[in-house]
Assembly symmetry: C2
Homo-oligomer: 316 residues x 2
């Protein structure tokens, strides 16, 4: 059996684990980020890796390390990361590798997450798949032939920024009509404006809601309590989600989607709308072949996917 | 020197040519489609191929045949073609190959066009590129690592059907807000509705225009004559074109675009708007790397690209 180390660096926590060649997570660790400078985080990453190496039945073949942001995986550089602005152009891959004495591959966290789902999660039967994470934005990981697709230098998969409503709302980068305004955490503040005045005002008043702060968890609770307008808004959310998925299908000709992220917990509230949105915007042949799955790996996804990145990069 | 035959089957004409390994078109033929049934077209294709084989200095290594529609290139089948509805599931590749005695590869015509531009046209310096053809719709050919990207079974590249304005106009398939409603031949009928009433009515009246029939050629003529509103509409056209290109960049991380099709003749009228649209919807790093080129191969693109399909498929 071969072993690899998977590390998932987040803005607040670093998760690390030892994973075997069957995708089984043998050991895991979770520490808080002490300081977001590259040297400090790399210290923590190196310490976690060394600890896990000692626990491994044999020397792991390498380390996969996921980082939020846009990564040039081929060169091992972080090109752009809102969470880690100082990491830009820092030799992350080379520095970790030197410190730990193992080969290292770095990539965007959503890309490794996608790879994990394709390896031992909901996408394991498919060679091509797209992972969508529904959270603050819509993250994407495109897997072609069981391999992460990076585009020219690493900017592929920024699917949340595709324009779905050119005359619509701006995203947090100031770009108008982005998909993630309509089908991620801030969606409900956008969607509520599309209701009739009467319905909107009554919905906000009865439930004492701030229209700028309609969190998905709150909206899920209201829908669970049977609020008709909340249910309708989830239907709209689903339809916008599906419309964007149809665009990805039309562009990429890939019909397998695995959906994760916190909002995927409300699957039953939006998935019918999603299927409707897809059906309205693509060919029947694509609809017939459509696979929509919930992500399966949950908390271990980042670690397992990152480890698989190492397996694929460093296995002979 | 090696030789291959490229054939481009259109709804009205079949173009065929003998192409050498440097991409030079040595001989070409053009015949009218007599009857759109698969057997009749394949008779014509086989006759053209046999004629060109006789003219070749040595036996060509194979035939590439482009067909409008959605093609399963791996199996050599036409899955869906509005121009050739009876071709669905007909063994096109196998039948031509049997009739002519050479190996055959078939693909979507825009895919072969893209391949030709990547080989000896405007995309020759790039390994990844996206060809867009601006005509009745927006056709797309996605080239990754100098190879046509097909998606799961051949439905990739239907970029004209991505949703850019969910609340907007329907395309001819009844799908709402498709990109090709805003940046292909029917765009001006859509865009004119976005003008203020006064400007629209005056523009239509002064030029005696039917708002449902604002052909790009006519609009180019008016813009060439200095009509302010026509110039403004071309700017809007460009901006919608650029917004969709930005979405493709955000999804695929590819920043090289080659633009062909009849409307590309009006390049100077829309390209500034296109750059503006792109700049508003993607990262500065992508804008810095952006390459926008006019297609170079013109009339021979289909033949040369199809021949290159044969070179890549059948060279050892």
């Amino acid at each position: 059996m071969k072993y690899a180390i998977g590390i998932d660096v987040g803005g607040h926590n670093i998760e690390a684990g030892l994973v075997d060649g069957d995708g089984k997570l043998l050991e895991s660790r979770n520490v808080k980020v002490l300081d977001r400078s590259p040297t400090s985080v790399i210290d923590q990453v190196a310490d976690l890796a060394k600890e896990l190496i000692k626990l491994s039945p044999e020397k792991p073949l390498g380390i996969g390390c996921g980082v939020p942001g846009i990564i040039n995986s081929a060169e091992g550089l972080v090109l752009k990361s809102p969470n880690f602005p100082k990491w830009s152009e820092f030799p992350v891959m080379a520095t970790i590798s030197e410190r730990v004495g193992l080969p290292v591959v770095i990539d965007n966290d959503a890309n490794f997450y996608a790879l994990g789902e394709c390896w031992v999660g909901a996408g394991r039967e498919y060679r091509n798949m797209i992972l969508l994470t529904l959270g603050t934005g819509i993250g994407g990981g495109i897997i072609i032939d069981e391999t992460i697709f990076h585009g020219d230098v690493g900017f592929a998969g920024e699917v949340g920024h595709m324009t779905i409503e050119m005359s619509g709302e701006e995203c947090d980068l100031g770009w108008k009509g982005d998909w993630e305004n309509y089908a991620a955490s801030r969606a409900f503040s956008t969607l509520v404006k599309l209701l009739g005045d009467g319905e909107r005002n009554s919905f906000l008043k009865v439930n004492s809601l701030d229209p700028k702060n309609l969190a998905p968890e709150l909206m899920a609770k209201l829908a669970g309590d049977g609020d008709e307008t909340a249910l309708k808004l989830w239907g709209m959310f689903g339809e916008f989600l599906g419309t964007g998925i149809a665009s990805l299908i039309n562009i990429l000709g890939i019909t397998t989607f695995v959906i994760g992220g916190g909002i995927a917990e409300s699957w039953e509230l939006f998935i019918q709308g999603t299927r409707k949105g897809i059906a309205r915007h693509t060919y029947q042949e694509n609809i017939d072949r459509l696979i929509l799955e919930r992500a399966e790996l949950k908390d271990s996804a980042g670690i397992v996917g990152s480890a698989y990145g190492a397996f694929t990069a460093f296995s002979e």
